[in-house]
Symmetry: C2
Subunit: 314 residues, 2 copies
């Protein structure tokens, strides 16, 4: 049987971890690397994982997608969602045939729309990663928590290609759950991401425990969740108050930790402001839903992010 051909764009912690698993399962994985290019092309990636360390030696390490030979079955995008990233340009060289399925493993809301519009003939799989992973040094990946995926066809459904990729993840040891309604899953995850990521930064660098026990912050997070539910419902996604309860309870039970946005902030990396807050605010405006609390957090976080980036450039 012909090997499944994968091309990874965005070889950060998330992309490298999951594609390393695909390679373990027998797929032929090529990687477009940037900052890790030298190390990765010489000796691949070392993945230090709570599930057991392993190495990932890509079939090819490329400087650009244009170097890729042939047609990949799946083009996996695992970059952060940042304004200076032109996803269309990034994908143009990688997606040369309608045979290639585009897979987004990214955070946030409404991130699929532009890609779907730019590549209307390609199937698009929207994927959400549940994982604690970082990249402490070039070629080094540290996997510290969870490590599963939820995936569905955008905007909805489950396809043969989705099934095949989920099976390939399974062969590599990754649980990849197929979801008929991936938008619901994305909005459900936003119940966590939208309050806890921004508030962890804006409230003076606080961990998840603090956000559930400080009465003012807990109330703020709950009210932000209420706004998420209103916008989701306006978008036709049947999120309910129960999701908010579950998310708050889950966060309360979980050991205190720093949100990924707080980790990015403290490391001076740019924050995913638009995918987490900007897009939901714009959808709310489109549907005429009042979201004053989201708006305040959005204005503040955007400013905090750009101040931090200016400092970093000095």
């Amino acid at each position: 049987m012909k090997k499944m051909r994968i091309l990874l764009l965005g070889a950060g912690g998330v992309g490298t971890y999951f594609c390393g698993r695909l390679a373990n399962g027998g797929a032929e994985v090529a990687v477009v690397a940037r900052s890790d290019y030298e190390v990765a092309s010489r000796s691949g990636y070392r993945i230090h994982s709570i599930a057991g360390d392993f190495e990932f030696h890509p079939a090819a390490v490329l400087k650009s997608a244009s170097e890729y030979e042939g047609i990949p079955d799946y083009v996996i995008v695992a970059t952060k969602v940042l304004p200076d990233l032109d996803l269309h340009e990034l994908l143009r060289d990688a997606v040369r045939s309608r045979e290639s399925t585009i897979v987004l493993i990214q955070n946030g809301i409404d991130i699929e729309r532009e890609v779907a519009a730019a590549f209307p003939e390609n199937e698009l799989l929207s994927t959400i990663a549940y994982i604690g992973v970082s990249r402490p040094a070039p070629g080094e990946v540290l996997h510290q928590g969870a490590g599963n995926l939820k995936m569905g066809v955008y905007p909805a459904g489950i396809s043969e290609k989705a099934r095949r990729l989920a099976d390939a993840f399974g062969d590599g040891g990754v649980k990849c759950e197929l979801c008929e309604d991936i938008r619901y899953v994305r909005w459900y995850k936003l119940l966590w991401n939208l309050p806890f990521n921004p508030v962890s930064v804006l409230a003076g660098r606080v961990d998840t425990h603090r956000m559930t026990v400080d009465p003012g912050l807990e109330k703020l997070c709950r009210e932000l969740m209420d706004e998420v539910i209103l916008v989701a419902n306006a978008c036709g996604v049947a999120l309910t108050q129960q999701g908010a309860e579950e998310t708050m309870e889950f966060t309360r039970q979980f050991p205190a930790y720093k949100s990924s946005m707080l980790q990015d902030f403290e490391a001076g990396r740019p924050l995913e402001v638009e995918a987490i807050l900007g897009n939901p605010v714009r959808l709310a405006h489109q549907y005429g839903i009042p979201v004053p609390r989201m708006e305040v957090c959005y204005a503040l976080l955007k400013s905090v992010n750009s101040q931090k980036q200016q400092e970093a450039e000095k």
Copy 2:
């Protein structure tokens, strides 16, 4: 003629500057000093002022108000409004007779209520300072901008004692305007204080210029002003949209500078969260006025302040 007798509690930059001016005008001023006690009792205060440097040698420098001999005509309180400050306890030793008039030179809203309740027989003058002043070292005061006062009887009116004190300020070279409706003046000033002080800290340490040109922050500041107007109106204070326009325009015209709250934040000093945000939010709740934007800023700022204080204590 008998000299006017003043007792100053809270000998920070604001108190020392204005009481130094009163002494220049001929008043007999005693000061309760804390961190500056050693320096001030030895050699008084040096005031470096845009209006000309001068020295302030108090008639007495005391460790506590209980050491004060006789009855002061005016007890001036110029402390910051902070939760760990027990104003009642501070005033108890200073206010021994109904002859003493209490003068609050402090920021914020609804700061007079408790004092008025604790000393119902004493006249209470509510005073607002417009000044750029800091205390770079013990016994040293740096006066960099403005330097005038607005004063009125709390809750309203102008009295003979108010007139006499305003004249004494005038003799010392300070413009002190008497106001029939000092609550209006306080709410008017809150149109500036409530948006620009908290947002300057929360938006990643931004100056006033940035808050007027960043579209997201400008909109947020305007919307916070709208909420201030709603609460003021509910409290019977006839603040209008014109006040908001004037405040925004004034800030736009003024050279960029760091708000006093941002200066406090950067110096690791506690922030006046309750006087600026907490009290207006509580008044809003009392009158059933929705103030979602204030609430978000209040919850965030309170957390930022306590995180910062915890860091400082480490």
